[in-house]
Amino acid sequence: MTMFKSMSKSARSTFTTYAMVVVAYVIVQILANGGMITNSLTGQLVPICAYICLAVSLNLVVGISGELSLGHAGFMSVGAFAGVVAAACFSSSVPNDALRLILSIAVGGGCAAIAGFVVGIPVMRLHGDYLAIVTLAFGEIIKNIMNNLYVGLDSAGLHFSMTDANSLGMSGGTILINGPQGAVGIEKLSTFFAGFILVIFCLFVVLNLIHSRSGRAIMAVRDNRIAAESVGINVTKYRLMAFVISAALAGMAGALYAMNYSSIVPKKFDFNTSILILVFVVLGGMGNIRGSVISATILTILPEMLRAISDYRMLIYAIVLILVMLVSNNPTLKGAWANLRSRLRGRRGRPKVAAAEAAGDAPEGGDSDE
């Protein structure tokens, strides 16, 4: 405990986030081994992990980099299908399931990173609402490409086509991705443990990035682009960096997600999924990584928990969403919470900070200069 106290504020917050995930994993594992989790919830464990990764990665763009991206499911989709194809390709050469899963997830992440880079170059010329609309369009483009993509594997290697399955020119072999029908006969490689590791990996990447030189540059661009440029930061480079890392992590999550099911269709990764991930981020708090983890978990479990009241399920879900938004933005409740926290800490005394904060009518940095 003394060690915990000696850590800096940010290190403590990071530690809490990791600890929370590990504890949650251990508890769920114990419950699952004791048979205390329903089947439907057990089936949700890997998707929960995937959604946590997606929320954390989107938070890097929306919260840390400050750009509203509405096409995150597109990168998830690229990762999912690339991962599925990779898993099939490696099925004979890499007999070890765990290693094959890692390789497939890496391929999924790599392909999504490339997609993120290609999309990012034109997108990073834009700001604000325009960027949001263009990412939305790119998400749809990716979905439509996947809808028309045919991939087959035979002894000669991989075959690609954008017209139909017959034009693949296969001699035997299997069709891995069959256009709108998506991928079928996927080997179920994903496990809850793999999901847990991927969540830890995503947290590791994003949290470490935030507390490094690159991460500070990304946040500087978010806070004040002109000032960031004036201290010599290459704005485009760092916006693109956040976007590509985010896409790569989304691709990894997509690969994990896809390999939890025996079949997956491109339609799954549509605009609704992008919005769902964005809801996780907004609800958990922009830039708040731990919040994303919590909200992704709760909002994925919630519909399952509400199965009992099947007819009113989505109604209750929507009401819960609205309530959480109202409560989390209520200034009175926020004030009370801050009060409680400072009172809990108050006994140990917080000298300078409170004094300096009280000292000033501190104006916000204006935005109407030039």
Binding site: K9, F204, V205, N208, L209, S212, R213, S214, G215, R216, A217, M219, A220, D223, N224, I226, A227, A228, E229, S230, V231, G232, I233, N234, V235, M241, K352, V353, A356, E357, A359, G360, D361, A362, P363, E364, G365, G366, D367, S368, D369, E370
Partner: protein
């Protein structure tokens, strides 16, 4: 050949005209920190800045004054490459800045503060300075993510250097506080610290004393002199507070309607009839 005709000859290395210096007794053989030659920018049909010739020597404190709307901030924006000039050249320590981006100009040695404070207000005071140190301390993305020894070394360097810089303005006790919650005067000082962190040759201060009371302004004057002496840099400032301008500037240029109407020492400027006219208007008898 006289210096003047040499300068007018095309494709020869520019030699500063003695008349361009605001402080007349500068050593003209030394490469000046800043040299603007026939600088101009048009916004549509408006000549916002026209034929702006100015040379700032090393470790000089220069003032740029003028009535509201004279184009002072536009000049700063030209110097920092926010705007590309329509005409003319800007030489920074002997290096032509044509075609540079804003961030590239910063790396070339020009730093600025803003008229409306532009801090990274959601980040801590120390992080603001660390971001200013962006091009002074290096650590790539991968070492940053995977926390290699390089990362720890760079973070230590960031920490030490930023506290050192904050100490110049006695601000190291604020290091952990969110920049946006600092009192107004401290925000202005932090902006200067952040600009200093980029290791500039020329520091541009856009109305550093705006909103300050007389005692804060007096402190600011001492601080500007202190950073000039400590960091051996040139300072160019836009300011409406004449006590500050006349008190610390060695040379002053007066801008009106985008043109320099007078240049010289504070004494010369105070007596210049054109300056008096620009500020106060013509006397009735004239």
């Amino acid at each position: 050949m006289s210096r003047v005709s040499e300068a007018l000859k095309p494709n020869t290395k520019m030699v500063p005209l003695p008349s361009d210096y605001i402080v007349p007794e500068r050593d003209v053989n030394e490469i000046p920190v800043l040299e603007c030659r026939h600088l101009g920018i048009d916004f549509g049909g408006l000549h916002a800045v026209e034929d702006f010739n100015l040379t700032v020597g090393k470790t000089e404190i220069a003032g740029l004054i003028g009535p509201n709307g004279a184009g002072k901030t536009t000049v700063f924006n030209l110097l920092t490459k926010v705007y590309a000039p329509t005409r003319g050249t800007i030489m920074l320590d002997g290096q032509d800045t044509a075609g540079m981006s804003i961030s590239r100009a910063s790396q070339a040695g020009i730093a600025r503060t803003f008229q409306n404070i532009r801090l990274f207000s959601s980040l801590s005071v120390e992080d603001n300075v660390r971001i200013g140190l962006h091009n002074q301390v290096h650590c790539g993305m991968m070492p940053g993510i995977f926390r290699t020894p390089r990362y720890w070394k760079s973070e230590r360097e960031f920490h030490e250097k930023s506290l050192e810089l904050l100490d110049v303005f006695d601000m190291s006790s604020y290091a952990g506080i969110t920049a946006g919650s600092l009192p107004y005067g401290a925000q202005r000082r932090l902006e200067i610290v952040r600009a200093l962190a980029t290791n500039p040759k020329l520091l541009l201060l856009d109305e550093p004393a705006a909103g300050m009371n007389p005692s804060e302004t007096a402190d600011l004057m001492q601080n500007i002199l202190k950073i000039r002496d400590q960091f051996k840099i040139s300072v160019m400032l836009i300011e409406h507070d004449m006590d500050l301008v006349m008190g610390i500037c060695e040379g002053i240029a007066v801008l009106n309607y985008g043109k320099i109407i007078a240049k010289g020492t504070p004494e010369q400027i105070q007596e210049n009839p054109q300056v008096i006219e620009a500020y106060l208007g013509k006397s009735r008898e004239a």
